[in-house]
């Protein structure tokens, strides 16, 4: 009989303790961020989708070596380049040299797993992570990014 009542009493006591805790929390300030009205700043190292980095003259740093393409586990990067002849002065002589120039750099963000292997594999520091995370669309095509285009838009 004693055990019966002491269990009831202890049960009620434990319930009262719980109620006390939630009551205290009731008056504490809200901790959430009202998302669409307020956004938080992404941290320095946040890994968004990738972006090309430009030189001082606005052309992409990328030399189209294709390391990122090979490093990508999901095969979501596809790039194309063309050879361009250009003249450069070497020891007072004009010489014609060939170099690869990036013509397209497509990122298929639908399959990207944001692992960052591409950025790590790049030997020329030509790509970086964007801080964008508000990406939403109902069309698949919106996630096929033409990074070269984005770079030009950023510059203009």
């Amino acid at each position: 009989m004693g055990a019966y009542f002491s269990e009831i009493f202890r049960g009620l006591q434990s319930l009262a303790i719980g109620l006390g805790i939630t009551f205290k929390e009731f008056f504490k300030p809200v901790v959430t961020v009202p998302y669409p009205y307020e956004t938080i700043k992404m941290s320095e190292r946040f890994r968004g989708h990738i972006e090309l980095i430009e030189n001082e003259d606005g052309t992409p740093k990328c030399v189209a070596c294709g390391m990122c393409q090979r490093a990508c586990p999901s095969g979501c990067i596809s790039l194309a380049s063309k050879s361009v002849k250009y003249e450069v002065e070497v020891k007072g002589e004009m010489k014609t040299k060939k170099k690869k120039v990036l013509t397209t750099y497509d990122l298929n963000f639908t399959t990207c797993s944001l692992c960052g292997q591409c950025v790590e594999s790049c030997n020329f520091d030509a790509i970086t992570f964007s801080k964008e995370y508000n990406l939403a669309s109902d069309r698949k095509e919106d996630f096929h990014f033409d990074l070269l285009n984005r770079l030009e838009e950023r510059n203009s």
Partner: protein, 328 residues
């Protein structure tokens, strides 16, 4: 004669409006309250403080298609939500909000409210059975056994009070408690020393009768998906939802009338009806507070609580009080 009928109709319409408005805005209050307890804002986008959320929700529910699952018992499926809402509204008719604000005063008001409250279990049973869903049937069986086992201690407690006051008229019950807090039934007196215990029993039973957490076994969403209203969409679900909140208002009003002195004002600052509303909303807040604090009980834990703890204690209280009444 026609004036009395008109009066009655107006009173009933007001009762319905009060019930529906309360049901809609208690959903808002519940969500805001839950938000505060969980340290988030809750609905705050539609209108100031999110006050336009209930109309928006209602509009959304009304524009949705009412889907009747294949193989369901169509008649029962359609009747069940109505049966959830109608008794709740009916009960409002007898509840006295103050000395003269009552739709239809009856000398057996307590009996009528309990008669209608029992119909609530019926709607859950019909909904679960009619929707031809295994989760629904399991929930219906649970809810019915729960309702039956909690009506017993509830009624025994009410009998104790009726025995003490000698009336089943809600207005007289309140009138008997007028004149200060010490006259409330909640406060133990010489002839009824166990009243706080009775209050606690009645409070727990109200939680169970209205299917509120921690006794919301009928819709235990982590086990039975949504229980008896798994298959309901559109306004069918809306009616169940509103019925639940209307029942909560009834439960809170009953507790106020039976234990907390109804419209009796301990300080007398403002008219009685405001005191009544203040008391029921405080009780409703405590319901919300409890729901967002505790985990759910099990079905056997629930039945154990009723049959092993609540019924023996309330029975003892009944006999003890009867004995004391005989002595004094």
């Amino acid at each position: 004669m026609s004036l009395t009928i008109l009066n009655a109709v107006i009173a009933v319409v007001i009762a319905i409006a009060f019930a529906a408005l309360n049901a809609a805005y208690l959903v808002w209050a519940e969500r805001r309250g839950a938000g505060r307890i969980q340290r988030r804002p809750g609905p705050n986008v539609n209108g100031p403080l999110g006050l336009l959320q209930p109309p928006a929700d209602g509009l959304k529910l009304m524009t949705k298609q009412l889907i009747i699952p294949g193989g369901a018992d169509k008649a029962l499926f359609m009747v069940a939500p109505v049966l959830a809402m109608a008794p709740a509204i009916m009960s409002f008719v007898t509840i006295p909000f103050s000395e003269n604000i009552v739709a239809r005063s009856m000398n057996i008001g307590v009996l009528m409210i309990f008669a209608f409250a029992s119909l609530g279990a019926m709607s859950i049973l019909l909904a679960g059975w009619g929707s031809r869903n295994k989760y629904g049937v399991m929930a219906a069986v649970r809810a019915v056994s729960q309702n039956i086992s909690y009506e017993i201690p509830m009624l025994i407690t009410v009998i104790t009070i009726v025995m003490m006051t000698g009336t089943m008229d809600l207005k007289e019950l309140v009138a008997g408690q007028s004149g200060g807090i010490w006259n409330w039934n909640l406060v133990p007196s010489l002839s009824s020393p166990l009243m706080p215990v009775a209050f606690l029993i009645f409070f727990i039973c109200t939680l169970a009768e209205t299917n509120r957490a921690p006794f919301d076994l009928g819709e235990a969403e982590s086990e039975l998906v949504a229980g008896f209203h798994t298959e309901y969409g559109s306004m069918g679900f809306g009616l169940f939802f509103m019925g639940e909140y209307a029942n909560i208002v009834i439960g809170a009003s009953l507790i106020t009338i039976l234990f907390l002195g109804g419209w009796g004002c301990p300080l007398g600052l403002f008219p009685g009806v405001w005191w009544f509303l203040l008391k029921i909303y405080l009780l409703i807040f405590s319901f919300i507070w409890i729901r967002w604090t505790f985990p759910r009980t099990t079905i056997y834990g629930l039945l154990n609580l009723s049959w092993k703890i609540l019924i023996p204690i309330s029975l003892f209280n009944l006999l003890f009080t009867a004995g004391l009444l005989k002595v004094f």
